[in-house]
Symmetry: C2
Subunit: 414 residues, 2 copies
Amino acid sequence: MEAARKEYAELRARGLSLDLTRGKPSPEQLDLAGDLLSLPGGGDVKAADGTDTRNYGGLLGLPELREIFAGPLQVPAGQLLALGNASLTLMHDNVVQALLSVVPGGERRWADEPRVRFVCPVPGYDRHFGVCERYGIDMVPVPLTGEGPDMDVVEELVASDPTIKGMWCVPKYSNPTGEVYSDETVRRLAAMRTAAPDFRLFWDNAYAVHHLTGERVEILSILDACAEAGNPDRAFVFGSTSKITTAGSGVAFVGSSPANVAWMKERLLKQTIGPDKVNQLRHVRFFRDTDGVTAHMERHRALLEPRFAAVYEVLESELGPLGIAEWTRPKGGYFVSLDVPDGCASEVVRLAKEAGIALTPAGAAFPYGKDPRDREIRLAPSFPSVEEVREAMRAVAVCVRLAAAEQEAAGTAG
Amino acid sequence: MEAARKEYAELRARGLSLDLTRGKPSPEQLDLAGDLLSLPGGGDVKAADGTDTRNYGGLLGLPELREIFAGPLQVPAGQLLALGNASLTLMHDNVVQALLSVVPGGERRWADEPRVRFVCPVPGYDRHFGVCERYGIDMVPVPLTGEGPDMDVVEELVASDPTIKGMWCVPKYSNPTGEVYSDETVRRLAAMRTAAPDFRLFWDNAYAVHHLTGERVEILSILDACAEAGNPDRAFVFGSTSKITTAGSGVAFVGSSPANVAWMKERLLKQTIGPDKVNQLRHVRFFRDTDGVTAHMERHRALLEPRFAAVYEVLESELGPLGIAEWTRPKGGYFVSLDVPDGCASEVVRLAKEAGIALTPAGAAFPYGKDPRDREIRLAPSFPSVEEVREAMRAVAVCVRLAAAEQEAAGTAG
């Protein structure tokens, strides 16, 4: 305890200012897409079909861009829409539209239901939970198992409760644990009986091509699995280039069955005259084809891999021998999930903050911001330099050791 | 009648293919913003405050772009948000949000009201009406007077009926008549007593800087007028660069009172991580300042003025002497509104279509697509060349003459 206090005092005295909070690409990653900033150029602004991309129209996005991302997102190009600048907006808007207009297969608008609930695998993405919270959609947490959500629990919930209308899924390199849904999990999600006829999977394939190792993990196509199981309209698939090209100035996608696409199109016809086609052309010219995306993601990996390696290296050397923490080693995505002793996460985040290290608030990865065991901390090492990651992680280790020592001392005292 | 039939037959025989349907900028107009296509370039991607525009964040848009458009849109920059690529989306989303979350001053969500109605000045913009129709909002048409909507009618409606929650307004160079709201109209709209405490003006200032003559018409600031009248939260103001830079790849704005901005921000926090800041930076670099916008709009005017002149010239020579039609001569905007004899508009549009001239469907400028007098036709001369406009208008004149003659013959026969 004394040693832990001393090293924490030394840490604070250093007056660090480091940030491991959000999964932001680093400037070096953004530089990889530098050519985008002068594209398409003045010469040729026509899409493949001759459309002048600078004028109105083209509600569903440029077909050639949809072709490029059809493979990575596992949606046929004809059913994949290229829309605004953020997949979060597309998810939000689909929830909102389900509240206000009957989803295919449904009997009434969700706004007219006495209660709407969503299944939320935990830990998960705080912004998914934020959409539910805003619209009064109750969240039912279900634990992840290492192969996706606990399907025994999910199956029982959705079969017995008609108020469960949806479920958030990040099926590959999940935020924050790096979870990858097994083929068996995907098949069970597609085939399970649901009490609600208008149940929807919100399939956020945010990290479809965001590999961190030489192994490019593939998952089953949810749309194919749903069609095979006789539930073709079950899933909305989302993705974007936010962590491929630029964050906030990329292109977002949503894909689904023909019936769901028709449902979305009805709304789009009233909401917009069309997406930013010049930006879509810019992306087409930049990537050229799907191989262009793959090659580009290798360049991201070269920048990200050493940062993740720095996290593991420090955690292993500083906390490994003590047995007071566990962490993930994701094969892709943007996060490492660190589990500290139960009841210690908030204290670690607080100690880190006072030492100048910003961490994601404890509990952020859980509905309503409440981690029932107060143990999970999401680490985002993409933005700082490798040396900053190493320094920040050493500081985190100091905080974990002190929080654990404090807890043990309190336990002994009481 | 015989002469009219003969000239129509000759017209059809020519096999024309011309389009006066939508207010789209011409390729020459889009070329004016050609420099945008290689901006911002790779060199400097920082906003004025140092923000890297390529990364996440900046929920309300780039301050320097909001400064540039604060004057033209008559909204203080701090209350003006620069968001997506289309003001229609911002209007749609505000209607949707009013349905799902209580507007400042309101008692309940509009979705929980037994009935919601909007005042719709007519003729008006079809896409405004489309938003209402989609969400079951009833539309109450009110005639335009030449100084804006008939305020005696509007005042009585909103004072007596608490189900009237909103009103669409295009206050300057209105689509399709070119109407400009007088200062008196703006003051009465700001000051009128409304039965609904959460009544909102949807103030679509789409043509704020889109002058067609040397006279740059100015209107009163609706936000100022509302504040002075003690109704500071009454108006949402919308605008975009769609018809300034590129259509669909521009920047859209929404501005309002601090309370309304806070209400919008609550939603934005859940819907997005931020707008496309690179595109906003592109626009800042292109315009530099508000004078840059003014100078740019003069270049648009140079291209648009001859097209409008061609419309007037043909209408005067071909229909003027007959006294069977009237038309507007707007000082700005994108449209000429042509009134043909009552009951003839649909027939004119049909005849034109069969002769290869696409016109906006008759009734499009009215709620539910129904012009009670079937007389208004919206002409959009911006996209075709001057010679094409002239040719299309000659064809329209032929169709008007035939429809009027047919109607007269039917009247005589009956």
